[in-house]
Subunit: 206 residues, 2 copies
Amino acid sequence: MEKFFSLPIEKQNILIDAALTCFGTNGYKKASISDIATAAGVSKALIFHYFGTKKALYLYLIELCGNILRDEINEKFDDGVTDFFDRIKLLSSIEISVMKKHPAMLSFLNSVYFENDDEVKADIKTIIENGQGENLRNRIAFKGTDISKFKDGIDPKLVMKIFTWLVDGYLSKVPIKTAINLDDLCEEIDECINLFKKNFYREKYL
Amino acid sequence: MEKFFSLPIEKQNILIDAALTCFGTNGYKKASISDIATAAGVSKALIFHYFGTKKALYLYLIELCGNILRDEINEKFDDGVTDFFDRIKLLSSIEISVMKKHPAMLSFLNSVYFENDDEVKADIKTIIENGQGENLRNRIAFKGTDISKFKDGIDPKLVMKIFTWLVDGYLSKVPIKTAINLDDLCEEIDECINLFKKNFYREKYL
DNA sequence: ATAGCCATTGACCGAATCGGTTAATGGCTA
DNA sequence: TAGCCATTAACCGATTCGGTCAATGGCTAT
């Protein structure tokens, strides 16, 4: 696999994104190396030259995505931010910047989470266990967050759930993730946060 | 195809749901008749005995889902309801009752909307054109709806968008749709609607 | 100029799976 | 007991699968 790493990063990314897309939309079994090769514009043989087997490529992608996500969080997340909605904005900006580098990454990780093929099921489990036990979103949104700003009778956890589903719903409806789509998403998220903040916070915190 | 219709409805539904699930999650090309047969617990040959070809089965499913959806709307939708959130509740109850009959139906219809395989692309287009031109959700939510109840500065269209994404997000995160899941969804939707109504409507309308 | 190296590929492998067919089975009816 | 019909196992040729390999061709070092 050293052969792959010595490629220019551009070319690496083309291949990675093609693989993330194919595996993410079709699952492990139904995504074929031919599909990935075609999507990446290279020959099937080249992919085997780099990764040896389909399984090795798949598992490598999982580790890679985990690392990218972790690095992005370590770099951008700021414990000093205590406002609930600022935290959510931060989290969204992390996810979006990840998707600007690898548009199919989150949907791939999601598909991995539900993958059930015997050839990779066990390996996925051990990889996930060796990584940290999340929920990423909830951990980031609630650890050290000031939720006293909410009006009485509003459940911040419900607001968080709404937000999570909302982003997932948007992304599931936009199967082709261009930079334009992601900027749109950014704007919609901002609108949404403003709407929530304005109506869910006590007046003195506006 | 008369052979299929003369089956007891239970058996018809097992086969239909298996096919909706397979086509919905894998798309036309990657969903095989063997997959569907296995999921339905019958032999592959029997499916060909009923529907002749894979394509015929697929196109039949599209028409069937369209009809079920139309019937459900005609039966349950009530023009007299003018409250925005009551309309949304009505719409959600329609979608959920449809999914209680055929859990994979909406995700199947969504996948049909994005299907791009040459073998069925053209046929899908003509079927959709012969059906009505929606957006179902928007049409139902806004035609004859009283939006003056909203506080100033709140855009009902944004609220609608949020709601749509939210439901899609929930459903995309729950790949196995049991009756229990759907009841959960129902509760969450109610919580969400109450939250929105309480905070987005002017006080005199609460 | 040329020798050699290495990324890249088309052609190929046996095995599996594809959409679809067919002959045989077996339960039901008359 | 004759016949009908739903259902299936076994099979068809074609395609695609994961994976291999020999040949190509561009690059570098001499």
